[in-house]
Symmetry: C2
């Protein structure tokens, strides 16, 4: 008998697929680098992973980009070889032969996972922030994922925190993601290094992608630029959290994603302090680390397949 | 037979009460200056206004401050002689002898009015901004007023739009209200005038409260400081709107309140342009003037009394 549900977390660099039971427990996992040969190749790889896991009755997939209700993906700058719109659900149905497939945004999936089985359990109103290459968030209001009429809800990466500030990957200025996304932090480090400022970040990373672990190592070496960039990231995410608390009123904030995982609970505590400083008085909310780590995406994707 | 429902809009300077039918049509109106002798005197005055209107089966009241589900009002800096918490619903029941009374925040009431019978009709997801002495907003999500677990939702007056910027009445820095609230604008004009900068705002207002009409007149005279303050107000509200669109995704933004009424549709168009500039691309939403004017509060309060 095939396992009931497989959750798939599709990312720019890797794909994680896993069987997930109704209690949110993760069984077998498979992991692969993401194919750079375009959407058909990605769908074929996911179909193979599903077969490796013994097949599925239903599949939930979290993917970068905006996803409409037909599982069509738009705007995915992090996926090599994708030319949106990509009819990912249709491609996956063809590749797997499984009709019951749900596709949604990866951050929404992660937020659902943390809400149902992770750090936001018991909080119907929660903001789940994921800090990775970019910065995104899923917003749970009254126990339901807020999507909004255009699916924009939770796009905290593009909130303006410094008017006229650092250029964001989207072209805007002063956005959270420009300060707190791994790519924005790397871009700034390389600009400053090119302008003559030494930093352990470049010594460690060289010409390779400046992974979160590079920042962790540079902080261990007390590199001034790494400390400064992290401080700006903390302030930016803290400001976005303060904004979300005032605007929609949440009871808890969960911080996850690769940058948060690698830079540890210390980052989370500092983000919480930054938000509390802006909110003042009795308005601060608990800011806690995500509980599911890399599994948040597959657990949430499985929930989506189950109709969450 | 008494009219079914009376809506009351309680403000810092005046009280408006009116009969409102099920279609949101306003019948008879009475208006009084707000008593400065404390909550009991305000309740007695409202009871008298209700009698003047012929009595009511049920009363809805919008009041400044945070209001809990028992109709107890906290934090009302604009109400002279109030020492929160104020059990306003209990006081009103005693003063009127009418048991069916609902009390909620004035901005929530105004937003409900605009949503059901004003400029946000047909938009289940709307942000209704009211610019007066302060700046507040009501947030309609999926056709329902978002209150949040602590009743904070929609507090856009205290979003940070300029890190470390102008001091807000609440003590924080760089909040929307510091730039776009009438009180914040007056405070800045008086500080700059005291520091030697001439302005028609002071010539017109003298030592009196700098009402919205004073700003309108100074703008007509092309006063540079008035233009500058209005420009900052536009930028601040535009930034708050862009933030709300990204964070919760609304389909329309309604701008109302005394400042917006007096400074006209031109202000609204400029706020819309500021928000669109920050949002970029295809993300801008229509920003439109409120449709109900001074009646938004009583219409919304009547809806609250009917169980909205």
């Amino acid at each position: 008998m095939p396992p009931a549900t497989i959750g798939v977390d599709l990312g720019g660099t890797k794909v994680l697929a896993a069987t997930v039971n109704g209690d949110g427990d993760v069984g077998a996992r498979v992991k692969r680098p993401t194919s750079t040969d375009g959407p058909e190749a990605v769908a074929a790889a996911i179909a193979e992973m599903v077969r490796e896991l013994g097949g599925a009755e239903r599949i939930g997939v979290g993917t970068p980009g905006f996803v409409d209700s037909d599982g069509v993906v738009g705007g995915v700058p992090n996926m090599v070889g994708w030319d949106p719109p990509v009819a990912l659900r249709t491609l996956l149905r063809e590749a797997t032969g499984i009709p019951h497939i749900v596709v949604d945004n990866d951050v929404n999936a992660g937020a659902l996972g943390e809400a149902a089985h992770g750090a936001a359990v018991g909080y119907p109103d929660a903001l789940c922030v994921f800090m990775g290459t970019g910065v995104g968030a899923g917003l749970l209001l009254d126990g339901r994922l807020r999507r909004g009429p255009r699916g924009l809800a939770g796009e905290i990466g593009h909130l303006v925190v410094r008017a006229g500030g650092r250029r964001c990957g989207c072209g805007g200025r002063g956005h959270v993601e420009a300060y707190a996304g791994r790519a924005g932090m790397e871009g700034e480090a390389r600009r400053r290094h090119a302008a003559g400022e030494p930093t352990a970040l470049i010594d460690i990373a060289g010409d390779d992608r400046m992974k979160s672990s590079v920042f962790a190592k540079a902080l261990d070496r007390d590199d001034p630029m790494a400390h400064e960039l992290l401080g700006e990231a903390v302030e930016a995410v803290g400001a976005a959290i303060a904004t979300a608390v005032m605007l929609v009123d949440v009871s808890v904030v969960v911080i996850g994603g690769g940058v948060a995982d690698k830079l540890g609970p210390h980052l989370v505590a500092r983000v919480g302090a930054a938000a509390a400083g802006l909110l003042g008085g009795g308005l601060a909310v608990p800011v806690v680390p995500a509980a599911l780590g890399d599994d948040a995406g597959v657990v949430g994707a499985a929930l989506l397949a189950r109709g969450a």
